[in-house]
Amino acid sequence: MSSKLAKIEKRTAYLLILPSVLLVFSIILFPIFSNIWISFKNVELKDLRIPEPRAKKLVKSINDNPNQIKVIYKLRNSSLTQEITNVKFKDKYPDDIEPISLNNKCQFKSNLLKCELGNWPKKYRENLEIVFQNINNQEISKKELKSYKPKLSGKSQNILLTYEFTLNNFKKVIKDKAFIDLLSTTFYYTFFGTVGAIVFGILAAQMVNQKFFGRTFMRSVLLFPYVAPVVALAYTWELLLDPTSGTLNNLLINYQIIDGPINLLGQKYVTLNILGFDFKLRLALTTVIIFEIWRYFPLAFLFILARLQAVPKELYEAADVDGANPIQKFLNITLPQILAVISILFMIRFIWNFNKFEDIFLLTGGASGTRTLPINVYQQGFSIGDIGMGSAVSIVIVVFLLIFMFIYFKLLGKRADEN
């Protein structure tokens, strides 16, 4: 009895999860695997269009003879790069109409014109002309002839489904001189973006954890940058930072803090002089990181605030009795309590910042030294049009991602053991 129940339970469970599993499999897992396939192929954006045989039908009357008519089919291969094999042609005609002469490729049977047109190489063009007559010597209606549309079919190789593979994409990715730069930019962006967001998240959480007027309102406001759409925020920042008419530059010039406008999003390096040492700061990248911190610190804030509110008040009271100062209280009570949250946040935000595309794409488009791996996927695949290369870069991202996930789940497991 119980085993029967278990069986029913099992069947129900599979039934319930099946739709979700199928959908996720086809839209997420399958593409990730097909990335591997595509990355070993030489595919370009223009190859994605499936080649089609096409025909344009023209109907012309023959001089002085209303019961005869000439039909011209302008045939062509739509693809500029691939051939179509075994092209078949079919067109329908009204009753009482017959072709006068036909070449050996075509047949006319029970109002149907059928042709075997063989193989068409790329860019192929041909005109097929056939003269028709009415058996009853009546006038042929052009309109009626035109109303039938020819149907063509043919086989073409789908470049994605062939078994030709190449290692060129990966060779190009690794050998590219900019690859090291690409990796360092990505890690620089990811690391500082994550750390910055967490630091500001801690600061904000500390502040909001105290009682003051308008605290709930403040909490909502702090989450605005995270909730609002990226597109709107990125363009607002772009206007704000614009070198000529942007608010920030004009403000700084107004207060005589800087002499001339700074192109914060368009300048790759700026030389800073600190304590007599010159060092180069990657300006555009730093600006993008600041935007990133501005947009994602609310998340760290939310997590840390939730944890802070769960810290027992007695701990602080005991510390007060012991005469601890605020810094000691933060270092010895608060920090150990939120350390777990911070480490999880760090891992997850690290993974997500590593894959962040929209923010940089909208602010700089990857120019002035802000090209990260995800931006490179887009540029290779869609700006240059080399789908295979784009896929190869995606694979690089996936490999890094798997490494990060491995570390993350290791840490998570360790933490679960401790508790």
Binding site: L16, L48, A204, L240, T247, V377
Partner: protein
Amino acid sequence: MKIKNIFTYCFISSLFLFSLICIWKILVTLQGIELTNFNFNKLFIFGIILCAINLLIGKKLNLNIKIILLALLFSIFDYFISTNLPIWYSFGIFLISLFFFNNIKDYDKNFLSKNHSSQKLFFNFLTLFGITLFSFVILFPFYMMLVTSFKTQALLLLNPLDFSINFAQGLPELFKSYFIVFKDYNFGRYMLTSTIVSLGTVIITLIFAIPAAYAVARLNFFGKNFLSTSILIIYLFPAIVLVIPLYTIFSQLGLRNSIEGLLIVYTATTLPVAIYMLQGYFKSIPKELEEAGIIDGQNWLGIIFKIILPLSLPAISSVALYVFMIAWNEFLFSLMFLDRPNTFTLSRAIQFLNVGAETPRQYLMAGSVVVTLPILIIFVYFEKYLVSGLTAGSVKG
């Protein structure tokens, strides 16, 4: 020891007062008023003097009278060192200094001789200043977005620092950019598309996720642990690695430039999050309730509809709001899949507006307000649900 404390107190307090005044001055500058100097030296020294006076008076005077007196002194001083500023500017200074002296009114000699008083003081001020600064930094871009959409191109170029709203010009003139954005740039249509796509994603996701989450939370089956781990892993995979294969597949299937294609992708990408969030909540519902349902002769459909759903409405609303937010804000897939204007979502339309020919910035900002406002209103209104949704699922985004 005590002298040191008094000195730090005066220094920190005056610096804090000055920082507050600075923010006010920046705001005033942004109303198009010419103000090029912060007067750091004078204000800072006068601030130190006032703080010392505050300490000397201590509690000898009624505290309310004391703070009003000190604030008045400060604003009169500021009025004399700055020229040609409107009266509301000085009134603002008065209110800010009132707020400031209200915060330091309790400090006297006794307080300063206590342990760690200067650190405490510093952190108190840091909190107050931090709150002001954070709100300013966060809200300013939103404010700028809104005000720019109310301006004209000529005004924007004339004085880029003028962020005042001129209400005298009448409402039709004020909202001109919005009329144009809706009429000439077809934003009504895009808004409809965005709404359909977002609501559609929410509904389909819930239809798929609720049964699956129930199965993961409650039923025993082979591969259950594997499934719950994979949900978490899949959920960490970013859109950027899916984009190229999905683009190639969708191009060949003719699903690009269609709302259906977008719906499928959005549903699939939000599904793991939704299942993950819902199953956590389902597990917290007492099992006895379902057992009672089974005794009453309900099948699983009945259990889900009559017991689980009514009990988990708060969790379902969080998931729904969270998914709505993701779908409404989504940009990458809409950029990839839509290139005909008649299928654009709002995000894609704004990007198109920016990339296309020189679109005046007030239209761009009006469009940005159109896409931002609904989501912010929903957020503020349903804050409780959305915040719990964010904390449960916000590892993504």
